[in-house]
């Protein structure tokens, strides 16, 4: 269709161009002929306007330049000279050549020629014209998420009908934006003998609930906004609003609208009767205005009810155990599906393989949606902390405000539950040790009240939770002294800032001067760290003395699935959490011999200690000639684990080992592989501790 229009435009343009040539030649002879000037201008104008409509943008913008010059000529600001006619003729030829080449794609016309002509024209005009044709763009209608209720008063001009506008079509357009109640105000109608049938005496009060935003409402009135009285006010946002609270009283609404004065309202209220009736009977108000305010009350009530019913209907409550059963079943299903795929591939049966692929796709979708059901926004936990901060800071005589961000961030239900205690502890610490007393803060040149900021954001397949305070920051010297006192480090130990802060997580460490009822509950930061690590998360501290401390907790989105690296030792399979793995390197017999039994490998100019897992787990048999070291990084320390073969990455559903094996150290769970065999999931930090303990 568009092509047909383009073709029509081209034909028309060629016609206009030949007319243009004639007009220009005549203009050269009669440079003052207003009619001729007008004809040239219109030809350019049409080529520009229609050109841009049918996608000839280069022609449109070039012609715009010429048109601008002729607009000046038309307005008597520029004389027609031989040079102007020459340039315009050249421009006309250029447009023709652009048309000729238009089907070969943009940029085929000679841009240099266009540039020279434009430069020449601009020089003649003696000014720098803005380059491109101004094209009005409608502001994007940014649809808001939450519906807002607006109170709109639309008072059209008396003579609105004379401009061909119909207010009723505008009201109909408003109705399409959302739930809408319209009240016509007819109090301005004169008596029958004075009435002018061509005048508009009515105005309208509209209550509209829409999620399209105020601009969409203004757009409705775009043609009439200059000659009407338009008032748009947002009166209720249906997300933040406490929906249970009663809406404004009738008198308040009328007062807000400016329909009644404060005094008059009080006077009516004193009568203890129905406000509306009384105000009307006393002649303070017109009936229509009261009715309109009543409609507003009813509208808000209805919108809230609707929203509540909608919310109630769109969610159902299910006991958590049922969800757990579902996720477990999906886990089993994933395992069986993997077996199916492997068997199908093994048999080489293409029909079976096609079915297996389909099952694989469905299982992946099923797994994702089952895990999604367990996702909850972290917000509910956040609001509990607000209370905690309020109560604790009062108890300690501190002024602390808590701000939160990312309450809508979703995490697995189990993870949120298990995060509660560590987070409570961290926030307590911030309040107790972090933020100073008001006097100390003022003395340090800070504001008297401190803040604790809690935020949650998604980052990759994990969620980053940050607890930041603007308190005193960590005292490095005090930490060092305490660590020495507790024998955690020796006087000669050199420590980086990160390592020094890391000492806080060492068992039995506490720098608080005295044990307060708040944070000295016998639970140290080591417990927090262990709890976070049990969630396969990590914790980090950054702190600036005097400016505050920031604790960052990184937690995987879900506990039920783990990205891991599958390795083999002899006939046994093991999994290492991929988040901890740095790289894999080879370990040859010569390397082993060269290290003289010290279990150190030379990797990138650095020595990396390694743990031969075959020995560690007492697996019988001989290792292959070339073994593999999987190098992991824990708390910034690189440690290798020697295995026979690295198989590859694997997404695994975690199964617990059950009670009987709860004391098995260094193993966090198990999973079933595609061929039905079991792979153990290694608990790397625990394994490392065990080995360190064995070596004394």
């Amino acid at each position: 269709m568009i092509d047909q229009h383009r073709q029509a435009f081209k034909e028309e343009a060629y016609e206009l161009l030949s007319e243009l040539e004639t007009s220009l030649l005549e203009l050269e002879e009669r440079p003052d002929d207003v009619d001729l000037i007008g004809r040239v201008f219109r030809a350019m104008h049409t080529i520009k306007g229609s050109g841009s409509m049918f996608g000839f943008d280069d022609i449109a913008s070039f012609t715009h330049e010429v048109e601008t010059i002729f607009d000046m000529v038309r307005n008597g600001k520029l004389q027609v000279t031989k040079r102007l006619v020459n340039l315009t003729l050249a421009a006309r030829d250029q447009i023709r050549s652009m048309l000729d080449h238009s089907e070969e794609g943009e940029g085929t016309a000679d841009l240099q020629v266009s540039g020279e002509i434009i430069a020449g024209l601009r020089e003649l005009a003696g000014y720098e014209s803005p380059a491109a044709a101004p094209i009005e763009k409608k502001a994007e209608k940014g649809a808001l998420k939450d519906p807002v209720t607006y109170r709109i008063r639309f008072v059209p001009a008396r003579d609105i009908f004379a401009s061909g506008s119909n207010p009723l079509t505008l009201l109909a357009e408003l109705r399409e934006l959302g739930t809408c109640n319209v009240v016509a105000q007819t109090s301005d109608f004169p008596g029958l003998e004075e009435i002018n049938p061509e005048a508009c005496y009515v105005y309208w009060d509209v209550i509209l609930t829409t999620d399209q935003g105020e601009n969409a409402i203004r757009d409705v009135f775009i043609f009439v906004e200059d000659d009407c009285e338009l008032k748009i006010e947002a009166i209720a946002e249906h997300s933040r609003f406490d929906e249970n609270q009663d809406y404004k009283k009738l008198g308040m609404i009328l007062l807000e609208r400016g329909d009644i004065t404060d005094e008059a309202m009080k006077e009516v209220l004193a009568q203890q009767k129905r406000f509306g009736e009384l105000a009307v009977s006393r002649g303070l108000l017109h009936q229509g205005k009261v009715q309109s305010a009543l409609v507003e009350q009813r509208h808000i009530k209805e919108v809230r009810q609707e929203k509540q019913t909608a919310e109630a209907a769109s969610s159902i409550r299910v006991p958590a155990e049922r969800l757990d059963v579902l996720v477990n079943l999906v886990g089993e299903m994933v395992t069986v599906q993997a077996r199916l795929s492997q068997t199908a591939a093994h048999r080489g049966d293409s029909e079976l393989m096609a079915i297996a692929e389909e099952v694989e796709r469905l299982t992946a979708e099923l797994r994702d949606s089952a895990l999604n059901i367990r996702m909850l926004p972290i917000g509910s936990t956040f609001s509990k902390f607000k209370r905690l901060v309020r109560d604790l800071s009062g108890e300690l005589g501190k002024q602390i405000e808590m701000t939160t961000e990312g309450a809508e961030t979703e995490l697995d239900k189990t993870v949120i539950e298990k995060l509660n205690d560590p987070l409570v502890h961290l926030i307590r610490n911030s309040i107790d040790h972090g933020v100073e007393l008001p006097e100390a803060r003022l003395a340090a040149g800070k504001q008297g009240h401190g803040t604790v900021h809690l935020s949650a954001v998604h980052s990759g397949d994990s969620v980053l939770i940050t607890i930041a305070d603007d308190g005193a920051g960590l005292d490095k010297d005090a930490i060092r002294a305490k660590a020495l006192e507790r024998g955690i480090i020796s006087p000669t130990t050199e420590l980086s800032e990160k390592e020094l802060f890391g000492l806080i997580f060492a068992p039995g460490f506490s720098t608080a001067k005295k044990v307060s009822s708040v944070s000295g509950r016998g639970v140290g930061m080591d417990v927090v760290k262990r709890a976070i690590e049990a969630l396969r998360g990590s914790i980090e501290i950054a702190s600036v003395r005097g400016a505050g401390t920031r604790i960052m907790v990184r937690i995987p989105l879900t506990l039920a699935i783990i990205e891991s690296l599958l390795v083999k030792i002899g006939n046994d399979s093991f999994m290492l959490p991929l988040s901890l793995v740095d790289e894999c390197v080879e370990l040859t017999r010569e390397d082993v011999v060269r290290s003289h039994g010290r279990n150190l490998a030379h990797v990138r100019e650095r020595l990396v200690p390694y743990i031969p897992l075959r020995e560690q787990f007492n697996i019988p048999g001989d290792p292959p000639d070339i073994e593999q070291i999987v190098i992991t990084q824990i708390d910034g320390v690189r440690v290798g684990f020697v295995v026979d073969h690295v198989i590859g990455e694997h997404q695994t559903v975690i199964k617990s080992l059950g009670r009987a094996y709860k004391d098995a150290e260094g193993i966090s769970g198990a999973t079933i592989l595609g061929d039905g065999s079991v792979a153990l999931i290694l608990d790397i930090p625990k394994l490392l501790q065990t080995v360190e303990a064995q070596q004394g």
Partner: protein, 121 residues
């Protein structure tokens, strides 16, 4: 009965596009090649809406709007002007002459239909 819309434009391609779009939208279309032609046709044909270009030979858009408003049958019909000028002065001039609204060129068929629906209901 289908509503009748007149399109007045000296550009045949724009007329064709407007006409095609309106017909697809279920309207009947009367075409006029300039202001004078339009005014003549308006005095004999009853239309429900007028869409006019501003720059036209013989009688320009502003003149057409003024002339149309003086005709009994066109006093209250919606008149929409097509304009390449997004400047306010041109719009105001048209509004003062009696135009209901405007469409800025270039426009897409959907935009044209949205405006027609807006003023015609």
């Amino acid at each position: 009965m289908a509503k009748i819309i007149m399109t007045a434009d000296d550009s045949a391609s724009v007329r064709q596009m407007v006409s095609f779009t309106l017909k697809q939208g279920g309207y009947e279309v009367v075409e006029a090649v300039d202001g004078k032609d339009a005014l003549q046709k308006l005095s004999t044909t009853k239309v429900d809406m007028l869409i006019t270009d501003l720059n036209m030979p013989n009688l320009d858009g502003i003149g057409l709007i003024k002339g149309a408003r003086a005709l009994a049958g066109c006093k209250f019909i919606p008149i929409v002007m097509l304009t390449t000028e997004s400047q306010d002065s041109r719009k105001q001039e048209g509004k003062a002459a009696g135009a209901t609204g405007w469409i800025v060129k270039p426009f897409k068929p959907e935009q044209l239909m949205a405006v027609v629906k807006k003023v015609l209901g």
